[in-house]
Structure formats: structure tokens, C-alpha cells
Symmetry: C2
Subunit: 218 residues, 2 copies
């Protein structure tokens, strides 16, 4: 069966407002997910919502979330089926939108929201591949240049999977949307872009000076 | 009663692991909150968790969250008491931590988690002050240099408040924690710092060229 180019909208992925900002396009969702590596994972614990920042990576139509076997959400997801109901959100802030009116101030952003059920990965091969995927997602090429996890470390690491099925992306771009009557006001209007990047790598205090900076960090 | 210098730890703000990374210090919590302006707000809708990115600002021991009166969480918080149970999380990613072993790879970060009940602000004066606080939190000085919200706009804007009471901050800093046996491995180890900043402001396409860039954006 050919893969559909869009995720199917559901009652909870269609926003109540600014619907024109929502999309279900698969490639667009993937591109937003692949640009980040820290998500905010929401779940319910003792009847209350909990939101924790967590590392993730995508592999095809599956997200992998990394944690300790001792952490609360991963323990819950590892409990006997039916897994853990989660909402996983990834947000990139791209710019500050300054309008003439206080009311129309906004943020340019891209945000993916995934609803679903997270399950602990129990297959050792899938677990190992998922951990490599997460390391390489944060620093491409790194998993081949580090000591692989041993059996004890694998046992201490929980990997949770979440399939991409009920997914949407919401995007705001461009200029402020001022009221026509406000256009002649003397206030500056426009967008202040946010810049992201990396500083120079800082070697660990115990690093042998003979170990050169690898090419993938230059 | 003098304000305590720390928030009181509770069962849900004491982490199950890496407890040494958790703090309840009020000034530290404030500094992490004040450095950001986009939080991830978690709540429960139809029995499932939802996590949405949202603008916020702090005023003393209260957070204000901004939204439309039509948005789902704000409608819920505006419903008759007892408000909306939320978890509000703010995360700054400071660096990528590369260890010799795949297992000890990590992220340097600072993350505040606030548990509590959000209520819609109904006092018009508090609502107006809260909106100014949010605008000035994102761009200091901006609320005085924009057209204030009129009655119709205020009616269309929901502001939700969340008191800082059950709060913790979790921080990881510094070098990777490699195993002693791994220190002689030939892999580079250290931290890649993340850089954040702003690009040059981009005037709106409909901005009168006579309007100069304000000093607070230079």
C-alpha cells in the first residue's frame, strides 16, 4: 500500500482556531521533527498532567524516546500493555513578530504535536538501533565514534516508541497582521528572527590532548 | 511572613532519579523562567494528555499564559472553578554532551516544571497588566511602543494565571561522566555549546520607511 502524503486529521489534531496554520503533510512533519532533538512529552500521572523534556529521534514513521528504566514515564510505558497515553510536542521558535498593536504581537514558530500510545521497546535489536538513531540524530556520525552500550547499560536504558499516526504541524510565518487602521501608526513593525547555532566544542577536562576534534564536529 | 528562599519539594517535584540535578531555589527558578518566553503547557482533555507551546511571562510568584478565548485550554481554565490542572515546563538546551561511551551521551539543560491549577484572569486591570507583562517579557520596552488593546481585543484575549507553588528546576552542566575504564578510549569527549541569538530585524512589508528601528531592538 503506498504511503499517504498526509496524516489523516482527527478531532483532536484539528485546531479550534487558526486552522489555516495547521497542516498534516507528512514531509513537512518529518522536516520539523528532524530539525529538533528535544521534545516535551506529556502524560498523566496520578490523574494530573506531567510534561518533561526528553531526547527523541525519528526513524521512518516511528519516534524513539530515550530515558532511564527508572524514570516515571518510561516505567509506565514499560508496564504491561496497553502502554502509556502521551502527547509529544516539538517546537521551533523562528522569530518575534512585532505588530503596531499589542494585540497582534505574535511568534513565528513551527510545532509538531503527536498524540498516541507509547510502548517500551523490548526487542534488543530494535533497542540498539534506536539508541544509535538517537545519538546520530543529535550528532550525525557519532554512534560509530563511541563505545557501544554493553549489556548492563542496555538493561539500564529504556527506549520508548511512538508511532506517527495522529499528527499535525502548526506553522506561523511572515509579517504581523496589523489592522488596516493601525498601519499609519508610528510604531515599528516587523519580525526579529531568532538565530540558532553551535559554539566552539569544549574538550572534557580529562581528555587526552592527543585526541583530535573529529571531522563531524568541525 | 518573609518569603522562603526555596519552594517546598513535594512528592511529584522530587525526581525518581538524578536527584542531585534538582533544585527548589526560588531565585534559580525565576532566572530560568525569565530567560524564556515559550513554555510547553500540559493539560488533560477528554482523558488524554495534551501539550501545546504557549507564550508566558512571570510577575512575582505568578505566571501569566496568553491565548485566545477560543483556544481549548484557556476555555477550560475559564470554565467555572476549580480551574484547569496543568503542568507548565520551560526548557533551555545549553549544550550537547559527548561521552566516550554512547551510554553517557547527554544534554546540558535547565528545565523548570510547574504543577498547579490555572485560572482565567477575570479582573480587567490584572488582565491588562498581564498582557503588558507578556509583551515586555518578549521584547523589553515594547508595550509602551505599541497601540494598547481596546475593549474588543481584550474581550478576545484570555489570560490564564498559574501561581508558583509546586515548582522545581533540574539542571545538568559540565563535562560528560565517562566510566573510568573508558577514559583512555580514542573518542573525543566534551561539550558542544548551543548558541542563541537574534538576527537583524526585518521590517514589515507595509512599514513606512520613515519609521526608524527603535532603540530597544538595536
Amino acid at each position: 500500500m503506498p504511503e499517504l502524503s498526509s496524516y489523516r486529521p482527527t478531532e483532536r489534531t484539528v485546531p479550534t482556531r487558526s486552522r489555516e496554520r495547521a497542516s498534516y503533510d507528512r514531509e513537512l512533519v518529518h522536516s520539523v521533527l528532524d530539525e529538533g532533538y528535544v521534545c516535551h512529552l506529556g502524560f498523566i500521572r496520578d490523574g494530573a498532567p506531567v510534561v518533561l523534556p526528553t531526547l527523541y529521534a525519528r526513524r521512518d514513521e516511528r519516534l524513539y524516546i530515550h530515558g532511564s528504566t527508572g524514570s516515571r514515564p518510561l516505567r509506565a510505558a514499560g508496564a504491561p500493555d496497553p502502554g502509556l497515553a502521551v502527547c509529544l510536542t516539538v517546537t521551533h521558535v523562528d522569530g518575534l513578530v512585532l505588530a503596531r498593536s499589542a494585540f497582534h504581537h505574535s511568534i513565528n514558530y513551527r510545532s509538531v504535536v503527536v498524540h498516541g500510545t507509547a510502548y517500551q521497546v523490548t526487542d534488543p535489536e530494535e533497542q540498539r538501533t534506536a539508541l544509535d538513531t538517537i545519538v546520530d540524530h543529535v550528532v550525525p556520525g557519532r554512534s560509530a565514534d563511541s563505545r557501544p552500550a554493553d549489556a548492563k547499560e542496555l538493561a539500564a536504558t529504556a527506549v520508548v516508541r511512538l508511532d506517527l499516526d495522529e499528527v499535525s504541524v502548526k506553522i506561523r510565518t511572515g509579517d504581523p497582521n496589523d489592522e488596516p487602521a493601525d498601519l499609519s501608526l508610528p510604531h515599528w513593525a516587523g519580525v526579529v528572527p531568532l538565530a540558532r547555532g553551535y559554539g566552539a566544542p569544549v574538550p572534557s577536562g580529562d581528555l587526552d590532548p592527543a585526541v583530535a576534534l573529529p571531522g563531524y564536529l568541525r
